[in-house]
Symmetry: none
Subunit: 222 residues, 2 copies
DNA sequence: CGGGGGCGTAGGGAAAGCGTCAAGATACGG
DNA sequence: CCGTATCTTGACGCTTTCCCTACGCCCCCG
């Protein structure tokens, strides 16, 4: 469920927004000034902030900066000011969208959908990745079970593991690992992929995680 | 360098935007109708699309859908229509922002910055397309259900999927997939289309998505 | 009713791509 | 200076993919 923090000093607008959002199954938290907005954001960990610029205590742009200091949560700014400079300031401070009051609630909802659709779910990939019976730690550059990899093998493996499930073209692998000018040396790939499989795959002859896509490239299957 | 595709049918607006964007070191491509917009997007691979809704050939929302069929590139819609419903339709079709004309160029630039700042580098977000019971991801080159495609099959499928609903002539398919000298080898098409259908269609004998247009070409029906 | 063009399916030979073994070349540390 | 680890390069079977031919079907048209 998407969690939304609404920040506005007008009680009736706050109320109207809360009702509309709850009806659409959002989880809602409220704040009526900048200070409590920052506090609520830290506690509530919203997936989206709807922020009125005209707050009694802190300027709205300041609130945006305060949030952006530690979070990349999407922010939609509401404001009665129609001047372009206000919009530019808010957007460049880190806001994702800017809606001028008065606004149609349906439009705001559509913009909320647009912004949340784009947002990446927080919590990216962990540093530890399992390959068969082995565990690879990209940050520490270690593999469980006393397996050691050469620098070239690490570069190659990292490229694959950072794109789980995605096909990496031979060209991309060669240019990123060996450099431009080696784009045709597919021989290196076969050589080093074989070594990686020998060191990592449970059954190197039948690779289950370091997959070949003939004519195209390789992929890491988690 | 950020690459921007501008789609508008007014030459003077096109010109003004191009000048402003080039001055700010964006790389710019232009299109003046929906058809060339879709084509340009497939060729130019922009990091952002600025799209006017009032195009002569295709409705703007259709263009948004056409793009969203295969890419998650950010889209900022321009429009003279101020009605909320137009905004909602465009945003829900997959647009990221909606700016009503006339607009301040500085505001548009700020919105461009806001949208591109949020955008993740190419390909990290899956752009998935449904074909029957299968799901195709063009960026990762994956098909659900342990289906694998050969390089030629991918080139052919990509061409069709990037032009959803549109007829692709045999000539175009042959030249783009096999090369300029193969424009008459229509039996290649029958061969590979059959294979694609076998691998993707629920009932290959009665294709529901990879449609033959006798004497003309083929079409992908979403 | 017969013929022809366009379409779908099947199968086989050629070629390209892949995995592997092995050995020479190069860098690095003792 | 030598030995080891690592990176290049070459050669050889094997698999996948591509290209091509052949054949049967359907629809349109004569």
């Amino acid at each position: 469920m998407t969690r939304i923090l609404i920040v506005d000093d007008e009680p009736q607008l706050l109320r109207a927004l809360r009702i509309n959002l709850v009806a659409r199954h959002y989880e809602v938290a409220l704040a009526d000034d900048g200070g409590s907005a920052l506090r609520q954001a830290a506690q509530f960990h919203p997936d989206l902030v709807v922020l009125d610029l005209g707050l009694p205590d802190i300027d709205g742009v300041e609130v945006v900066c305060g949030l952006r200091g530690w979070t990349s949560v999407p922010i939609i700014v509401l404001s009665g000011r129609v001047g372009s400079q206000d919009k530019i300031d808010a957007l460049d401070a880190g806001a994702d969208d800017y809606v001028t009051k008065p606004f149609d609630i349906e439009e705001l909802l559509a913009r909320i959908r647009a912004v949340t659709r784009r947002a990446v779910p927080h919590g990216t990939q962990p540093a530890q990745i399992r390959i068969g019976e082995r565990t690879v730690d990209l940050a520490a550059k270690t593999v469980s079970g006393d397996v050691r990899l050469t620098p070239t093998e690490w570069r190659l493996l990292e490229l694959l593991l950072r794109n789980p499930g995605r096909l990496i073209s031979q060209r991309q692998m060669l240019t990123e690992v060996w450099g431009a000018g080696y784009a045709k040396e597919t021989h290196y790939l076969r050589q080093y992929m074989a070594q990686l499989r020998r060191k990592l795959e449970p059954d190197p002859a039948r690779p289950a995680h370091l997959i070949t896509e003939p004519g195209m490239g390789y992929r890491f299957a988690p």
